[in-house]
């Protein structure tokens, strides 16, 4: 025998091979995860860093250190460039759209689940079908419609196209269908009308889904860019996403003040981030339940 080893060495070797295989694997997994995280986080971190730099600092490409004016950029953007107003406009638009969407979608889902009317499923599939036509596809006829209504450059024109939501109708319908029929029948036996049932039973029983859907709607609406750009002409009525573009455009002599653009970018990210943090539990369960 060439390799006669004492028991202790054997045990050690066994232990090492046993430990190192999963250890190496874990190292690999962590490496990949960190790399992915870096790819996702780098733009955000860079934006945050640039938002503290001065105009001259930001043009030193290699300067990745926090800048010398951590707060000045923010006050400049918010007040001199009117970004506070744009953010407020965005918030109002988003709130109105969410409230409108929830109201319409909850009513539609209630009708789809609890009323027996002819072609009920066809109606539902037609609603789903609208998902196949995103805004850019219908923007021309939509604009024409708003023009005919005289709603161009108005708040109604800004918000009304967003009020209906196939996604929300779909998610609420799924939720309502999962509620046992006996619950509804108990209410029917008591003569509780559909609206009362919606308000006192369905909505409280669907709180999680409503929160999740609201979060999805908030992010989608907050990030709307194309429609506000097209339909709103006056700067003071414009929303933050378009406002971001104004800041890009104000630089003198072709010089874009990227530090201010980054500052506005950071600002515009904050509300969706807050909503995500608050609603993440409901959001996950909403998406998991479909």
């Amino acid at each position: 025998m060439a390799t006669t080893t004492d028991p202790l060495t054997q045990r050690l070797r066994a232990r090492l091979t046993k430990l190192s295989a999963p250890g190496r694997y874990r190292l690999l997994v962590h490496g990949v995860l960190w790399a992915a995280l870096l790819v996702v986080l780098a733009p955000l971190v860079l934006a945050a860093i640039y938002s503290t730099q001065s105009a001259s600092e930001i043009y030193q490409i290699t300067n990745l250190l926090p800048g010398t004016q951590p707060l000045d950029n923010y006050t400049t953007v918010l007040f001199e460039y009117n970004f506070a107003q744009y953010m407020l406009n965005s918030l109002v638009m988003t709130t109105v759209v969410i409230v409108g969407k929830l109201t319409v979608s909850l009513l539609a889902a209630t009708a789809l689940v609890y009323y027996r009317f002819p072609y009920r499923n066809l109606v539902f599939y037609l609603i789903l079908f609208t998902l196949l036509m995103p805004l850019p596809v219908r923007i021309v006829p939509l604009y024409q419609l708003m023009a005919d209504l005289g709603w161009i450059n108005t708040f109604a024109g800004l918000t009304s196209p967003f009020i209906a939501s196939a996604t929300a109708v779909f998610l609420f319908r799924q939720r309502f269908r999962s509620i046992p029929p006996a619950v509804i029948e108990t209410a029917r036996l008591d003569g509780i009308g559909p609206l009362r049932f919606l308000v006192y039973v369905l909505i409280p029983m669907s709180r999680g889904v409503i929160a999740g859907v609201s979060a999805v709607l908030f992010i989608g609406t907050w990030n709307a860019y194309l429609w506000p750009l097209v339909v709103i002409f006056e700067r003071e009525n414009q929303v933050a996403q378009v406002g971001l573009r104004f800041i890009q455009g104000v630089g003198s002599e072709g010089l874009i003040e990227w530090n201010l653009v980054m500052t506005a970018g950071v600002l515009v990210m904050i509300p969706p981030l807050v909503v995500l943090l608050v609603a993440r539990k409901h959001l996950l369960s909403t998406l998991a339940s479909t």
């Binding site: 046992p180 006996a182 619950v183 108990t186 029917r188 036996l189 008591d190 003569g191 509780i192």
Partner: protein, 378 residues
């Protein structure tokens, strides 16, 4: 309290006939159980009575008043469902009181008073502020019962209310239901697929099959004098033995014969001529020959044991004569092995004859022909 009359009630769902001409009357204060296999239409019948479904044809009347198109809440019914149907976001108290307003105008104090009385009756006083998620199955069912009681209905409809409970709790709740019914004395219609519940709870039991009522009778009558082969098989556990046999009538006496099994039926039935019939005998009416020494039973028949089941109070043998497997219920604490040959006799007083084609009962040896007993058949 109220009297319910159903007259040739039909319910069709597209091509399917769920109720096929149901005629039934439920007396004031009666506890009627609807029992039958899955899909026999018993739940549909209950839902049609409640108004949750609308019948295709036929009439429903409550206290002589036709309620065919009356909306559910005006029929004075309260229903308890198998899955309790409690609102998960409301406390037990709120579950009971929600929707009460549409049953009449009560002040808050009156409602609170009523709730505490009902809760005391059901022993759920401590649980009123909990939500359904914090209640056990039995407690939830009590809350659901409480909700129904609070409505002081003319008519109680219970749709398999105990099916989701475990066996022990089900036994307890069954006893409580009987007490409760004695106490409040409301007309009750109770749907179940469980024959034990049916026999123990019902003043009368209606056995349903394929959208029709096969028989409505008090439990013992149902067991002793089944109106059809279906009822005979459905009621009783282990189920009744059925086999085809030759019946000969000589001098007004019936002689039943099948292979080595033969017996003369007591009495002198005038209604049955000879021919082939389906013979029914319950497992407890078959005896081991040595257990039945000295009795006037049928000639012994040798059977080979295939399986024996110990039930504690008895042993059930599955034994075959080569053609049919018979279920024989014998005394407890006996040992049988597969392949043992046992000698079995039948109590001729307890034989049932059914028409082989239609399944209708033609003769019950203990009690005479069914016609004489006014057996209800629809």
């Amino acid at each position: 309290m109220s009297r319910v009359e159903l007259n040739t009630l039909r319910k069709e769902f597209g091509e399917t006939t769920a109720l096929d001409g149901i005629t039934l009357s439920v007396a004031d204060g009666e506890f009627l159980v609807l029992v039958g296999p899955s899909g026999c239409g018993k739940s549909t019948l209950l839902r049609t009575i409640s108004g949750l479904e609308t019948q295709t044809a036929g009439d429903i009347s409550v206290d002589g008043e036709i309620v065919n198109t009356t909306p559910p809440k005006e029929r004075g019914v309260a229903m308890v469902f198998q899955n309790y149907a409690l609102y998960p976001h409301m406390s037990a108290r709120r579950n009971m009181t929600f929707g009460l307003g549409s049953h009449g105008s009560f002040t808050d104090d009156e409602i609170a008073q009523m709730v505490s009385e009902v809760a005391a009756t059901l022993g759920i006083g401590e649980l009123l502020d909990r939500r359904p998620g914090e209640l056990s199955g039995g407690e939830k069912q009590r809350v659901a019962m409480g909700r129904a009681l609070l409505r002081e209905p003319e008519l109680f409809l219970l749709d398999e209310p105990l099916s989701n409970l475990d066996a022990k709790l089900r036994d307890e709740m069954r006893t409580e239901l009987t007490h409760l019914h004695d106490e409040i004395d409301a007309t009750t219609i109770y749907v179940t697929h469980d024959q034990t519940e049916a026999l123990t709870l019902g003043d009368r039991v209606a056995v349903m099959n394929n959208g029709q009522i096969e028989q409505v009778d008090p439990p013992q009558q149902l067991y002793d004098v089944p109106a059809s082969q279906f009822v005979a098989e459905f009621i009783g556990s282990p189920q009744m033995n059925l086999f085809e046999g030759n019946v000969t009538a000589t001098n007004g006496r019936l002689h039943v014969e099948r292979g080595r099994f033969s017996t003369t039926v007591p009495g002198s039935p005038q209604t049955v001529d000879g021919g082939r019939f389906t013979v029914g005998v319950r497992p407890e009416d078959l005896y081991l020959a040595d257990e039945a020494a000295g009795q006037q039973y049928s000639d012994p028949c040798e059977l080979r044991v295939e399986l024996s089941e110990t039930l504690g109070d008895s042993v059930v043998l599955y034994a075959t004569d080569g053609e049919t497997t018979f279920r024989v219920r014998t005394g407890a604490r006996q040992q049988f092995g597969t392949g043992d040959v046992v000698s079995v006799v039948a109590d001729p007083e307890r034989l049932h004859l059914f028409d082989t084609d239609t399944g209708v009962a033609v003769y019950h040896s203990g009690t005479g022909p069914p016609a004489a007993r006014a057996v209800t058949r629809q």
